[in-house]
């Protein structure tokens, strides 16, 4: 996405140095004067000829000597982009007519590609002003600022230089959701808010059944015909006017594998974030409630259930801030049953590489509370490959242990699937829908 920034996003740079004479100017001035002096002393007119170009350059440089520092503004076109998209860093510099050459160099940064390559652009000042533009493409999700840009301006013959270093511009790269689609439905129903009805009975329009009157029931819900037959007050119960709740839980305790951005290999966290984005992008705009919780990071990230495009944007913004942390990790300390509105939804999708024990414990704990849990295995195939054979051996041992742990989780009735885009969740959602119609044993 190539954009041009508006004036409101422009601002002055960070540290600016005043105009200073360059080494080239010193060379021209001292060389010319010395040669002219020697020409006079030694009576060598040829030295005058040799000194002429440097003397002309010196005189020209002095005549075009700059006064005040130039005006410089820079900005970023769009502070928020999607993975693989690009925005423009643009700058405008204006000073006196003496401005000649302007150079901008953007520091290298991981997962940032620039055009021109290497992030260096030169500009030729016309009438004392010049515009510079560097295309910045972000290839991985995350909240990473654009590195400082070193800007240098010179006068004719590069005799005087002015330089500045811009401030870091914040850039948020939203994950590009993987392709995803679901054909299966947990509780097929037409109408209501989302495509799938709530699992809870409550205030709503869709008939669920007839039950005895309870305190708090509205009078208009009383089924008088049935009540007359049974000699007891009976009311029509309805399904709540709520939608399916997809609770996304991301295990960010570690990031396994290499992350080469959108165009290359994906790490475990890349897979989890993109899959979560894909699920949210599928359900939220269709009226389903989607929530997010991330554990294993320094700061706990939680997005309460919501629906619509705004909710999708909130989830993607939160996903962009996820980063694994080895210090002060936030565990899943709060019991899952107390995570009101977040955990305990219709379907909990846990995205994890299944290396840390917390994720498996969480999945089993949620399953034992009678919740529908789907575990998505995000460990990439290349994670276990390493040049060091001892590391590779350690990985093989760990993967054997992991296989045993996964079998235990599967035995507890919790499905574990590998993410492969569209249709990944179809079969497990059908199974959950089928299972939800039968009796269920809960452990309290």
């Amino acid at each position: 996405m190539t954009t041009t920034g508006d004036e409101s996003s422009l601002h002055s740079s960070g540290i600016a140095n005043p105009w200073r004479p360059t080494v080239a100017y010193f060379r021209a001035a001292v060389g010319a004067m010395a040669m002219i002096a020697f020409a006079l002393i030694w009576r060598r007119p040829d030295l005058l000829v040799i000194a002429t170009p440097l003397a002309v350059v010196t005189a020209w440089s002095l005549l075009s000597r700059p006064g005040a520092s130039p005006n410089f503004t820079d900005g970023l076109g769009h502070p928020t982009i999607r993975e693989g998209d690009a925005t423009n860093w643009h700058a405008a510099i204006s000073g006196g007519a003496e401005l000649d050459l302007v150079v901008a160099a953007l520091d290298d940064a991981p997962w940032i590609e620039t055009v021109p390559a290497r992030g260096v652009v030169t500009g030729c000042a016309v009438d004392g002003s010049a515009n510079l533009e560097i295309r910045v493409r972000s290839t991985r999700w995350g909240s990473r600022p654009v590195e400082p840009v070193h800007v240098l301006a010179t006068t004719p013959w590069a005799s005087f230089r002015w330089s500045t270093v811009t401030v870091r511009h914040p850039l948020t790269t939203l994950p590009l959701p993987a392709l995803f689609d679901v054909n299966a439905s947990t509780c097929p129903s037409d109408g209501l808010i989302g495509l799938h009805r709530s699992s809870r009975s409550g205030e709503g329009n869709e008939f669920a059944g007839i039950r005895p009157f309870q305190a708090g029931d509205r009078l208009r819900r009383i089924n008088w015909t049935r009540s007359a037959r049974s000699n007891e007050l009976q009311v029509n119960s309805t399904w709540a006017d709520l939608d399916t709740h997809i609770a996304l839980v991301i295990d960010a305790t570690d990031d396994f594998g290499v992350s080469e951005g959108i165009d290359g290999l994906a790490s475990s966290l890349d897979g989890a974030v993109r899959a979560a984005g894909a699920i949210a992008e599928h359900y939220a705009p269709r009226g389903e409630r989607v929530s997010l919780r991330v554990f294993g990071t320094t700061t706990p990230y939680t997005v309460l259930p919501g629906t619509g495009r705004a909710q999708l944007r909130r989830i993607l913004d939160t996903l962009a801030r996820v980063s694994p942390s080895t210090l002060n990790r936030t565990g899943y300390a709060t019991p899952a049953s107390r995570q009101r509105g977040v955990i305990g939804g219709q379907i909990t999708v846990l995205l994890s590489p299944l290396i840390a024990p917390e994720a498996l414990d969480l999945a089993v704990a949620l399953g034992r509370q009678g919740m529908s849990v789907i575990v998505v295995d995000t460990l990439p195939d290349h994670a276990a490959q390493d040049e060091d054979r001892y590391v590779e051996l350690a990985w093989r041992i760990r993967l054997l242990e992991r296989r045993r742990e996964v079998r235990m989780v599967l035995a507890a009735g919790i499905p574990i699937i590998e993410w492969h885009g569209p249709g990944s969740l179809d079969q497990v959602i059908r199974d959950i829908a089928h299972r939800s119609t039968g009796p269920r044993m809960l452990q309290r």
Binding site: Y25, M33, W42, I50, L101, A105, V120
Partner: protein
């Protein structure tokens, strides 16, 4: 220099732009050309002096923002003074032009990163300006040549006036080159 530093330095070589390599070639060619002209005017065979000059120029193009280029210019001019006696030879024009081109290219390299590709419009502007400088150089040589042909006798008064003018110019230049009071580092 450690091995990792050496590796970084070698890695940086791959990032050097094609235009930068062209600038480097032009710089080295100018120094080699100026030194060769000196050798030819002196009537001697190309010797180690050319290799020495080019060696110094290599240091200058590696560190264009240093005084290495100044050392190269001094060395090349010193070789000219030591080797040639004919003060009005027309060979001094290409010699001066080559020295000037070396100066300009190194100045341009000093203000641009090694990966930069300098805008074509700027190069054309520098070419145009250089044309004026070359014209001025030819003009000065013509004056020197004409005065030499007239065999004008030396004048002590004119020499004194020349020195005074030069001193005044140096003082003016020094005051103009210095940073304004408000911009001086404290």
């Amino acid at each position: 220099m450690t091995v990792s530093q050496l590796q970084l330095w070698i890695d940086r070589l791959w990032t050097v732009s094609g235009q930068r390599w062209l600038f480097i070639a032009v710089s080295l060619g100018c120094v080699a050309g100026a030194s060769t002209i000196t050798t030819l005017v002196a009537g001697s065979q190309p010797n180690v002096a050319i290799a020495l000059m080019v060696g110094l120029a290599v240091i200058a193009v590696i560190m264009p923002d240093s005084h290495a280029a100044f050392v190269v210019e001094i060395a090349v001019v010193w070789q000219w003074l030591a080797a040639t006696d004919d003060a009005t030879t027309p060979w001094v024009i290409p010699f001066a032009v080559l020295l000037f081109v070396f100066h300009c290219v190194v100045a341009l390299m000093a203000v641009t990163p090694i990966t930069a590709h300098v805008h074509g419009a700027l190069l054309r502007r520098w070419f145009r300006r250089s044309g004026y400088v070359v014209a001025a150089t030819i003009g000065v040589w013509a004056i020197v040549f004409v005065m030499d042909q007239r065999r004008a006798p030396g004048s002590a008064a004119l020499t004194v006036v020349g020195f005074v003018t030069l001193t005044v110019l140096i003082l003016l230049m020094r005051s103009a080159s210095a940073l304004p009071e408000r911009e001086r580092p404290r």
